[in-house]
């Protein structure tokens, strides 16, 4: 089974964690997104600004019509963010986990139809927050979305996979793919 097929299969489960290598990180994301079956995507980005993501996803043949972005990085790095973007909410910083939870919960409950929340990524959240806070946040998001019947995809870098907190979060997931 090739990597993309493995990823597609994993998406059938409720909560999946993908451990991606730094060299093939974005390729991995594209593969995951291509494996979705028409669900709306709530894309929480903490490491690439919305404007960049939109461009790169389009270049890779992914339509973002069914996407809603929660961009936690544009404002933080001083990029101009427009309130006129209908499919994106700009948050101030990746270190404000409470605000990210509020935006994610609001998006998940208000967006109609089947949906997937993609959290990109735990590795970046660990740069801006302490491990315990990221653990509590992940636990909350995973279990809250589980009760709402929303699929969740968490991403982490391979280099972080040996960290205790990533192992703990892995134990909350239904499936872990490397």
């Amino acid at each position: 089974m090739v990597a993309s097929e493995q990823r597609s299969a994993a998406i059938g489960t409720v909560t999946s964690m993908f451990i991606l290598s730094a060299e093939r990180y974005f390729e991995g994301i594209v593969s995951i997104l291509k494996g979705l079956r028409g669900e709306s995507v709530i894309y929480v980005t903490t490491n690439k600004p919305y404007s960049y993501l939109i461009r790169v996803l389009h270049e890779n043949g992914i339509s973002t019509d069914g996407f809603f972005f929660i961009d936690c990085i544009s404002q933080h790095v001083g990029e101009r963010s427009s309130d006129e973007e209908v499919n994106c909410i700009f948050l101030e910083t990746p270190s404000d986990l409470t605000t990210i939870s509020i935006a994610a919960h609001e998006a998940v409950t208000k967006l109609p139809g089947d949906k997937v929340l993609l959290l990109d990524s735990l590795s970046v959240l660990l740069i801006y927050n302490d491990a315990n806070a990221v653990g509590k946040f992940s636990n909350f998001i995973i279990n809250r979305l589980r009760t709402l019947g929303v699929k969740t995809i968490l991403l982490a870098l391979e280099t972080d996979s040996r960290k205790d907190i990533i192992s703990q979060i892995e134990s909350l997931c239904d499936e872990v793919k490397r």
Partner: protein, 118 residues
């Protein structure tokens, strides 16, 4: 007798204020509600220090010099007031931002859903 009751009460108040400072710091650590909340913790710690010095004076362990009185009666109370004001203002802004994010996200999702229907 009156003095000893005051001293006992003074120690009791100090213990309560230390507990308040601890819980104030715990709230910051638990919720990560912003660095501003630390100012509230700092204000409670200063209040505890003030109570401690007041007790020291009462027990005649400290003497109230001019500088001491200036710090005790002007600098520390002013710091407490400023820290509490800034800390609570910061908390207010935090809660306000939660509300704004919730409202904006909801509005955008509605617009997105409408656009998709078209």
């Amino acid at each position: 007798m009156t003095v000893s009751i005051t001293v006992v009460l003074g120690f009791g108040q100090i213990i309560l204020q230390i507990a308040a400072a601890y819980f104030s710091y715990s709230i910051y650590r638990f919720n990560r509600l912003g660095k501003g909340w630390l100012l509230v913790t700092a204000a409670v710690i200063i209040m505890t220090l003030r109570r401690l010095t007041a007790l020291g004076l009462e027990m005649k362990l400290l003497t109230a010099s001019g500088t001491f009185q200036f710090i005790d009666r002007f600098v520390l109370p002013s710091s407490i007031s400023v820290f509490l004001l800034l800390g609570l203002l910061s908390m207010y802004r935090n809660f306000e931002s939660f509300d704004v994010v919730e409202r904006k996200t909801g509005e955008k999702i509605k617009l997105l859903a409408k656009a998709r229907k078209k």
